[in-house]
């Protein structure tokens, strides 16, 4: 199991050091600093073995978090734990920075004591932790006996992510379907790979212990119902169901029920959390198409023309559009002309950045640039990194639709109809690249 946990700043100074196991000596802290943080070459693996001791590290901005062990631990678990720890810290004091860590070091030690016992990860749900570890230390002495046992049963219980007795005057929930669409296209416009990775994020403000059921246009479910007969919204939309390659769920979802009936039922945590993640690869709506044209004119000049075409309903508007056209390292000057938006050559980033605030569907726009090059005797050809793109569109490129989210709370007297529900779709670019 995890033998110890260290947090360093970018210089390699120790900010937090908590050792759980006797086999981790005091020199382990220095070993990691010397061999990884101060290593001359770039670190080539997130797992490092130094003198029979294994170090797992992740970086958040310029803070290093390292878990250390001498055993054959579950490596995936250690990384999951490190991410979780980052989440917990962020939930308590915001951004993970040297200042925030120093300001909260007592709290961090308390948390580390609670969420990792002898190197075994324990309940690390922020909702539960906040009931008894606050930034003013443990709330211990203020609690009544009932409160105490409520805390302990929540921390250890089946529903560790929600406490009892939550009350809202207005029962309300927000569902955000957030998708990032990824594309790799060849210069000839052939799709090399495309997939959508999506998340359903839920903000729930519901009283009591509500039982929820979530439904979407999952092909498997729709097909099953279709066999039963009535499919009323057939023909309403061209694409009524989508094939989901794989999905994963928050721990509140009953996985065995999903496995057997493919229904998503759960008791949600209070506040914001990620209900599910999914991945699709079939019938993706690619919101933009990039058509590049690069011509080398002699050895000192490049001509670049890039056309972008939007491919969705004309009534919808895409936002925050940014096209990044890489330029060679020996670029000496760039002239740009674009039809829409603003374009600039950024020498420090070796790229032309073209920004358009808004663009409606089924439109196209174009940029052309002349790139002057310094003559070099470097034999190696320019690698031509791909042209990348960023954008945001108000629909789900996978075609996913939320069909329902039903709420049942048998003990309190509110019904599904009384709950106010909001649904929003946002599609963003993930890695959206076209080779040129």
């Amino acid at each position: 199991m995890i033998g110890g946990l260290f947090i360093y700043n970018h210089k390699g100074e120790v900010l937090i050091s908590r050792v759980y196991r006797d086999d981790i000596g005091r020199n382990a802290v220095d070993a990691f600093r010397v061999n990884v943080i101060h290593a001359r070459q770039q670190v080539r693996s997130p797992v490092t073995n130094i003198a029979r001791t294994s170090f797992f590290h992740v970086k958040r901005s310029n803070i290093w978090l390292a878990a250390v062990t001498k055993q054959n631990v579950n490596a995936a678990m250690v990384f999951e734990f490190l991410y979780k720890m980052c989440d917990v810290m962020t939930a308590y004091f915001g951004k993970i920075s040297e200042e925030n860590i120093k300001n909260n070091f007592v709290l961090i030690y308390e948390l580390l004591d609670e969420i990792l016992d002898f190197g075994y990860p324990q309940n690390s749900e922020t909702g539960a932790l906040k009931t008894f570890i606050t930034q003013q230390g443990i709330k211990g002495q203020l609690q009544t006996k009932e409160e105490q046992s409520q805390i302990t049963s929540q921390v250890t219980g089946q529903i560790g992510w929600r406490r009892e007795g939550i009350k809202y005057r207005r029962n309300e929930l927000f569902l955000d379907v957030l998708e990032s669409v990824n594309l790799l296209m060849s210069p000839q416009g052939q799709v090399l790979s495309a997939h959508v990775s999506g998340r359903v994020v839920m903000k729930s403000y519901l009283s009591g212990m509500p039982e929820c059921k979530f439904g979407m246009n999952d092909k498997i479910v729709i097909d099953k119902q279709g066999k039963g007969g009535a499919s009323d919204d057939a023909g309403k939309s061209g694409k009524q169901s989508i094939a989901i390659d794989d999905c994963t769920f928050h721990q509140c979802v009953r996985l065995s029920k999903f496995d057997s009936e493919r229904s998503i039922s759960f008791i949600p945590p209070d506040g914001e959390y990620e209900l599910m993640r999914y991945r699709t690869t079939k019938d993706i709506i690619l919101p933009f198409r990039v058509i590049p044209l690069v011509r080398e004119v002699g050895r000192t000049k490049l001509e670049v023309k890039v056309v972008i075409k939007s491919n969705f309903k004309p009534s919808l508007l895409a936002q925050k559009i940014e096209v990044r056209i890489p330029t060679p390292l020996n670029t000496s000057g760039v002239q740009v002309i674009c039809m829409k938006g603003k374009a600039k050559y950024k020498a420090s980033e070796n790229a032309i950045v073209w920004k358009i605030k808004r663009m409606a569907g089924m439109k196209e726009s174009q940029i052309s640039a002349e790139i002057e090059l310094l003559p070099t005797n470097d034999k190696k050809k320019w690698a031509r990194p791909p042209i990348s793109m960023n954008f945001e569109v108000p629909f789900a490129p996978s075609g996913l639709k939320v069909r329902y989210l039903k709420v049942f709370e048998s003990k309190l007297n509110y019904s599904d109809h009384d709950v106010i529900k909001w649904v929003r779709y946002i599609g963003r670019s993930g890695i959206y690249e076209t080779r040129c």
């Binding site: 120790v14 900010l15 006797d22 080539r44 693996s45 797992v47 490092t48 073995n49 029979r52 797992f56 054959n72 631990v73 579950n74 490596a75 995936a76 678990m77 990384f79 999951e80 490190l82 120093k102 300001n103 909260n104 070091f105 030690y109 308390e110 004591d113 016992d117 002898f118 075994y120 324990q122 309940n123 008894f132 930034q135 003013q136 230390g137 443990i138 211990g140 002495q141 046992s149 805390i151 250890t156 089946q158 009350k167 790799l184 090399l192 990775s197 390659d245 994963t248 928050h250 721990q251 065995s256 999903f258 496995d259 990620e274 991945r279 034999k379 190696k380 050809k381 031509r384 890695i431």
Partner: protein, 995 residues
Amino acid sequence: MQEWANQLCENRQFGSKMTDSKYFTTTKKGEIFELKAELNSDKKEKKKEAVKKVIASMTVGKDVSALFPDVVNCMQTDNLELKKLVYLYLMNYAKSQPDMAIMAVNTFVKDCEDPNPLIRALAVRTMGCIRVDKITEYLCEPLRKCLKDEDPYVRKTAAVCVAKLHDINAQLVEDQGFLDTLKDLISDSNPMVVANAVAALSEIAESHPNSNLMDLNPQTMNKLLTALNECTEWGQIFILDCLANYTPRDDRESQSICERVTPRLSHANSAVVLSAVKVLMKFMEMLPKDLDYYGTLLKKLAPPLVTLLSAEPELQYVALRNINLIVQRRPEILKHEMKVFFVKYNDPIYVKLEKLDIMIRLASQANIAQVLAELKEYATEVDVDFVRKAVRAIGRCAIKVEQSAERCVSTLLDLIQTKVNYVVQEAIVVIKDIFRKYPNKYESVIATLCENLDSLDEPEARAAMIWIVGEYAERIDNADELLESFLEGFHDESTQVQLQLRTAIVKLFLKKPTETQELVQQVLSLATQDSDNPDLRDRGYIYWRLLSTDPVAAKEVVLAEKPLISEETDLIEPTLLEELICHIGTLASVYHKPPSAFVEGRGQHKRLPGSGGSSESPDAVSAGAANEVAAVIPSQGDLLGDLLNLDLTPPATTGPPPHSGGMQLGAMDLLGGGLDSLMGDESEPPPIPLRSDTPRSPPLPHQSSSSPENSLTELGGDLGGSPAMGAGFGAAPAAMPPAFSAPVSGGLEDLFDLGGGVGMPLGSFCPPKTVWLPAMKAKGLEISGTFVRRAGVIQMEMTITNKAMSVMTGFAIQFNRNSFGLAPAGPLQVLTPLSPNQNIEVSLPLNTVGPVMKMEPLNNLQVAIKNNIDVFYFSCQYPISVLFVEDGKMERQVFLATWKDIANENESQFQIKDCHLNSDTASNKLQTSNIFTIAKRTVDGQDMLYQSMKLTNGIWVLAELKIQAGNPNYTVSLKCRAPEVSQCVFQSYEAVLKN
């Protein structure tokens, strides 16, 4: 309302906390003194502040142990925050001040009775972290209560505490019956208590391999599977990892467990998913392949594995390393998912390299076009390692998918045209392999290759180019000029290039004898007269003699048909792969090494539960272990029954005793198999050099790993192998360096005597260290070392001395292929930097799963060691006794039958002179080196000891040792199916007996 109030409350606290960082800044001189005063202050606030300062100093590494009594005095407080801080301090310093730590005991005991469960748990949790014997005594009673506490939070904490206590004092835990209580907790009503109990028990069980502590039966399995649905994500991991150790009774049980585990594949936590994959991969072995469910399961595994690739990069890395294993074991799972392994421009380099590996594995005729297009793209990227690997991958594709070979070759030619130095070199190395796979097909490109001759500066590329020139000498008009140009700087070349050049010129000579006589004489004289490298020199002599005595034979030998090269590379050896599959998700699967290679202490080797007969059930193993103990105690006829031996060889390392009956056949098999691997069977050629391109240790170039050389090396080895042949070299006196006198014999005897006199610990035989690499030859790096076998592990012990003026860092080690497949079991761990005139003792555990190539002498080991300065090569010889395994004791009947069965010409006799031991002492001494006496017979005052030993590759050696009272000369007769080992075994006998 409540929400708002909470938030307000928090905000206020936030404000008051913004000042914690000030504790990090105090660096005044009288700090400790000031802190002392503050700790003893009456004001609570001031006390707390002071403790915080102490903890901050502790974190940054200052020694604040002097404040121990003052901090402990603050423990008696109602303020929980203060209490936790004091506990934190205690955990850090209690060990250094055990007497003072006792002061804290009362508070702990009291806190364990506190009405607040959070405080009870805190006390029991902390107490377990204080590793002071006197405190652990007091811990037992409170722990017992807490294990039965009404509150689940306390129980789950107490469960972990048992594991802590076990780590401090295992005996105490057993005596107090805590293990039984822990087992009871598996049936607890609270899922988290169950999960923690499982975690604790699993860990404890690991240190008692045979205790059957984790008694996994269908009932417990059912309980665990139920808890699996209810506990936290971490608990699910503990439980799944534990389930993976279970062996189902039949395929139906196996299927029902799989059915209950598959829902976990949709969990958001990647570790849960991977652990579930592990259970499924393992239990799938039990399912009949024609079962519908088997197919369904295979289909279910692919999507979650692909999903892992959208996790954070570090997890992607772990996932990819595991997928690499899964793809080797069950390629069908991911065969349609090639696209997801395409490299993204922004992937971290470690993810890119791993993806590339998997792409090569999945490449097939169906997807080769896409793969090639991708690889070509990658070859233009920035990262040198990645580009090299991509170029290499193109070559692999050509070899793997015949239809694509032509496209691959033209792609490689395009890349050569880029003139990027490392791309060209890498391309030439792979083209050489393509030539071997498809002879007489692509030789038209040779002209293009030759154009780039001058730009090659890496040994591997130079060697490959030279091989090509030599192999196709008849088609290259100016082959002699090309090779001659290399010859000028012969002495500055690396060994690999020298060897290749020598062979290539001999080939050239055989093909065009008229014009190249001068050249061949030049190279052979360079190789034999001016070189210190025995490999180069000896093979030089062989060629020379061959050429001068029988040119026809020379042609047959040198221009022999080459064995085909294998299609797959970097495949993990099947038994290791099976073991690694049982460790999916863990570090072992990331390193691709068995846990024993990087974890201290001996671990059990896990195995897949095959439906075939290759595996043993855990019961059989433990039964075997029980028998073993009995087997070590000798039967009546044997006289080696003294307890000393029992103590010296831990029973567990003795291995299962041979079962009578079926064993006889098994022994034969082992012998056959061992022979084959030793002789380097030509029909199954060793694969192309394995390049374990793990990002951790940059690969050293193999000394002579280029495969075209293989056939020759083996031939050369065989020729020189028999002693008779060695004598035949009399014509060339310098030819035989003291190669046959291993460092264990000859002039070193005196040293041994000295060692014995000083009282070397009676253990496995360990020759004294000799200088392997003198500082003169290695730019100031001196290495001396020896080999020893400890507790079943072969260790290479080295003293590394820096005699240079500058600091040495970045040590790494690699072995050339060798007769027994010795290979480092882990990276060379030198706590660098090594400053000038400093020396360091390093012990490198070795395993015997590396590539095999017969060496001359048999126990020769060629080593490459790298540091920041350069790469150095040396060769050393290990006493063959380190390869004698612990279960090398043959049954009497088997011994008898085998002895008769082995032909008499495989028997060799040796004399050991000047040895003054009686037969019992000799037998004992030999047993410490795993040479086991099976029977003893006394005839006419002459003791005959019948002994057996087994080598790591399964070869058995049988021996008869004759000792006559009063005669200091012993006679050893060795019988073995691979008689070439006899010489080495004899040397070990001599060395051990005289030690």
